[in-house]
């Protein structure tokens, strides 16, 4: 499949707000990109027309109940069957920030035994509490399972921004250790927060410094940081300090490029 034939759907509902820049990221890499309201996908029954579904950042449904909870239930209720088919066919699904929260609330991540009836994780209030907009470093710890990062060298450090107040990944306290082991065994950990030198750090109190995970198949990926805000060099907070810009792009582009390549290769 050629990149220009890949159809990407950025799905939105009231309160979604990072859809334009997410669409831009796919568009500049050559994919066909559409921003669609959930209602439109329901009306046209068109979810299966797409090769990638993206749940972008924002505050869907005002983050009421819990961030992502209402969007997840809406999606399940209105498009549950198509979603199941999409996932069963191993078509990739990406959730960024609020999108990650939706995937967790939907039971798609971690989804050890496939989609779960109830969430198996939570993305909850940061420690220290409050919204934080900041550039951080991430280490790619995935060994090759994740379709969104498998061409990025393992242990490579990426520079991306976070902007959230509920990004602390949490598992059931009594099963915390076993859950971590399962994530490791199945190569489901993708990104962990770190410092510029690679030593681990933790901007929001998240468990095991985890910033992003994928499902067992590596087709569903959720992360708190915003790769779509790190596409061009001039988006970096330190770009003014560099003498030369060897590339017009920035680290976030690697993730979008990676998934488009994965699809192009597969089909």
């Amino acid at each position: 499949m050629k990149t220009q034939d890949i159809k990407v759907c950025i799905m939105r509902a009231g309160g979604t707000n990072c859809d334009f820049e997410t669409a831009r990221a796919f568009r500049i890499l050559g994919a066909q990109t559409e921003i669609k309201h959930v209602n439109e996908l329901v009306k046209n029954n068109s979810l299966m027309d797409y090769n990638i579904i993206v749940l972008s950042g924002g505050s869907s449904f005002g983050d009421y109940v819990r961030a992502g909870a209402i969007f997840a239930r809406t999606l399940n209720a209105k498009l549950g069957k198509q979603m199941k088919q999409f996932i069963d066919e191993n078509r990739p699904l990406l959730g960024i920030c609020n999108g990650f929260q939706i995937l967790v609330e939907y039971g798609l991540l971690p989804g050890f035994e496939g989609p779960s009836q109830q969430p198996e994780a939570a993305l909850t209030t940061n420690i220290p509490q409050g919204f934080k907009c900041q550039w951080i470093y991430l280490k790619n710890e995935n060994k090759g399972k994740c379709l969104f990062t498998n061409q990025i060298p393992q242990n490579k450090i990426l520079h991306l921004p976070i902007a959230h107040s509920e990004g602390r990944l949490l598992f059931s306290k009594e099963k915390e250790k076993q859950t971590l082991q399962k994530l490791i065994d199945n190569d489901m950990i993708v990104f962990r927060y770190c410092n510029e030198d690679g030593t681990t750090t933790d901007p929001n109190g998240t468990y095991h410094n985890i910033a992003g995970i994928c499902n067992k198949e590596g087709t569903i990926f959720g992360l708190m940081p915003h790769p779509e805000r790190a596409i061009y060099f001039w988006q970096e907070p330190t770009w003014t300090q560099k003498q030369q810009h060897t590339s017009p792009y920035s680290d976030g582009k690697l993730i979008f490029e990676n998934i488009l390549n994965s699809i192009a290769k597969k089909q």
């Binding site: 909870a69 239930r73 109830q118 994780a121 939570a122 509490q129 949490l170």
Partner: protein
Amino acid sequence: MKYTVKIDISLKPGHNNPEGEATTRMLKELNYPVEQIAVHKIYVITFQASSQAEAKLKADEMCTRLLTNPVRDNYTISVVEQ
């Protein structure tokens, strides 16, 4: 019949409680000898059900399907007949 249920959601023990801790700090600064704060979320929901038992069952369903995340939340349900 119309029933009103009160669903009280709290954090499972063992989890960190940043909201409670931040509020504790602020109240301490205002000179209250606060030791601990638990932040609960309460929904008061009115709906039709045939019996109190059914109302409670429905409310429990609401909790598992939307209102709570089992990883994080405990909840209790109390039913008030109307």
